[in-house]
Amino acid sequence: MQVQVLSARFDIPDANKIEIAKEHGAYATLDKVFAMQPEEIIEVVKASGLRGRGGAGFPTGLKWSFLPKNIDKPVYLAVNSDESEPATFKDRFILVRDPHMLIEGIIICCYAIKSHAAYIYIRGEYTTQVKVLQAAIDEAYAAGYLGDSVAGHDYKLDVTVHRGAGAYVCGEETALLESIEGRKGQPRSKPPFPAVEGLYGCPTIINNVQSIASLPFILTNGADAYKAYGTEKSPGTHLFGISGLVKKPGMYELPLGLPLLEVIDKVAGGVRDGRTLKGVIPGGSSTPVLTPEEAQTVTLDYESMAAHKTMFGSGGIVVLDDTVDMVKLVENLIYFYHHESCGQCTPCREGLGWMLKIVRKIIRGEGTTADIDLLTELCDNIEMKTVCVLSAACTMSTRSYLNKFRHEFEAYVAGGAPAQAAM
């Protein structure tokens, strides 16, 4: 089932070094790229059907085409490498195993959107990753792939690595921009959207690491080669991070569209012996949980996930077996989002803390049925009333547990922990 499109050089020793990477094809597509017009590149990316790999799945080529025409301001690219959604661990492999694929992608993207400055916003916790990435960028400058004349062409490009200070919310694209500008990482109200008014007030494209890293393959092999993988509406491959209670957790590159359960069983080895599947978080902690019944029919693509009222998200699949206490899982979930709320707007700042206290009250055995109802209602009251979608990440997922595993909350209210298999 596994494929090697993005991960082609992952297992080659020292592929983070520019000589090794070049031996295996890095930067080979640049001459072809610079022979094309920027608009042609955007068309190829559009034709490839590549969708944003940060979680929202917005078509990448379409996003680029939102840039205003005939602008007299500089255009910026910001590469979102904050990768802070719990259960997501895909971009870190690109940063460490094949940073030159990312740099090559940045060159392609910047040329296409006519940008001469790219920022890579990398989460503060990625200390090793930032060292490897910076070393690769230094190599690329030394080799002439970055700087005043990219790969000998009349094109200037500078890439700057900006380290975050450990805030989940800085993965939100406008908070990321605020953080790069040196301010407190708080999302901006939209509109204006970053494509019109982004970094330093200039048009800015923000793409996920994996989206950008997909570009060299698409430009080298063409849109059709990329579309050969995946489904019609979700073409291509994805780096899936499979974690939780499976035998072989890890990062696997798979084409989109595979059945979820088959992937869990065949790729990740299935749940531990003697355990049964209780639920699956399909794409990072913010995506609504799937029951085993729902997991039967879902496939790993955007449209199937949407049909199952959840989201493809970041490809961070968490497998839950019958030992998992869903109420405590929800407590952990709300704790995280509450802790990471930037505190800017009222519903998220006040509401998530309230939700956390209510779920803890339920766990202490002091809760009532009214508390479960209140928790459910608060999800509705907070969601989509906020500046950004951080609170929705918490409420959408929390609501799914409340709806699908309400009996576990009720068991706490009735007294003691819910009936579940012994650990």
């Binding site: 800017q344 508390d371 009251n381």
Partner: protein, 520 residues
Amino acid sequence: MAEKVKLFVNGQEVEVEAGKNLIDAFGAIGIEIPHLCYHPALGADGNCRMCLVGIEDGRPPLVPACKTKVAEGMKVQLDAEKIKKIQRDIMELELINHPIDCPICDQAGECKLQDYYMKYDGQPSRMTVKPVLKAKKMDFGCGVVHDQERCVLCARCVRFTRLITKTGELGIVNRTDAARVNIFPGRPLNNRYALNVVDLCPVGAMTSRDFRFKQRAWFLTKSPSICHGCSKGCNIFIDHNREKYKDDVIYRYRPRLNEKVNGYFMCDEGRMTYKLENDNRLGTPRVNGREAGFDEAIESVRRAVSEAKKAVVLISPNASLEQMFAAQQFAAAINAPVSGYSDGYVKAGDGDDFLIKDDKSANRASFALLGIDDSKTAFEAALNGADLLLSFDNDLSRSLSGDALTQLLADTKLIMVASSQTDCVAKAAVAVPVASYSEDAGSLVNCDGRLQSYEVAVVKNQPAKSLIEVLHLCGGEIKSNQEARAGLQAAVAVLKDIDLEQIPAEGIALTESEVAHVAA
């Protein structure tokens, strides 16, 4: 006239000013959209979420009104159950961690949380868990006391120090429900407009050390007036109250919106000048160092005037236009030269480029209008050979050193008609108390040539006579402001077409175009 657009609110077509956001545009036609963080002087931030409104057929369907400009044909929903529920929900979230200590909160009675709770919420609390505890009564400097628990994090105060004073002392530290407004350690508020954050704060999180616990807001009478702290003429509210068995006392000044003068703000020094109206006032008349009756004092003045070989009239640069005119007429009647000498009222270099001016008097511009010379040379020339100096609330001790004043008084008798006790009053042969501006009405011309008027705010149990009345009792012709105004219109060309009884709220710039516009 400003350009208009037509749009729909709750299905009703309305016409509003173009270019404004929904809050301001609808506010101008009497439709309220609740909001905490938005302030016209500080712009839209969009953090409180109270102003979320629905836009029919809109993308997105739910928008913050503060960040949304009116547009032709827009269909805005304010009364839909969906919107009312959002307002209820946001209010609930604002209040869960709020201490609800209204009984001991200074803001009670003028608090947005209270008002909005009554209007948009009204639900019982569902908070059954422990609220977030934060710091209270923090000294932020400049007389500002902060209560983090009452704070709704609207960031108006933070934006004020960043956008208006550009001093940036305040910030929001930490995140999630631990977010709080704070100063940097050891770096308190340090600007001359700091107390504006108390007015800006929509709740009781920012309080004034000076005003704390003195009065309940609903007992205060809020009378519009003009600050006399400097020549800017900031528009203010005089908040005063007569407690049972006590006198009418001023408790605070607050800035009053006038886009043409001070906007929404005033300086801290000006704000504190209310104390001069309460304290150290001249109460009892004095004749030759002893207390005297009012009639006796007036009689002494009349006698001194009639006996004087040469009298000089000195007028305060804080006197109203009407008072100046009446004093000028009085001086003409007794053949006395008039001076406005008051160099001591000017603090050179103290002003800034915002509201604070060097000249700490309110109406010096009227001297020029009436041809009253305020130079030292003219004053000294007038004094030459004079044996009587009649000062109408001009505190000469501010302009002259103690020695110079003593020397002047060696052969010149001083009569002070004054509102406050001063060195000058102590040295005067006769001192007659007079009403101050908070107890009187009149007109002023500020440093930018803008004519403004103020009305009586405070009525003391035993009101002092107005300066014009005192002038009349001393032999002046003019008996009232009305008479003075009629005289002014006849005498001063630029005032010819202005109805001094009906000066518009924003005042009138004494330039030809604006005067002509008002007259038309």
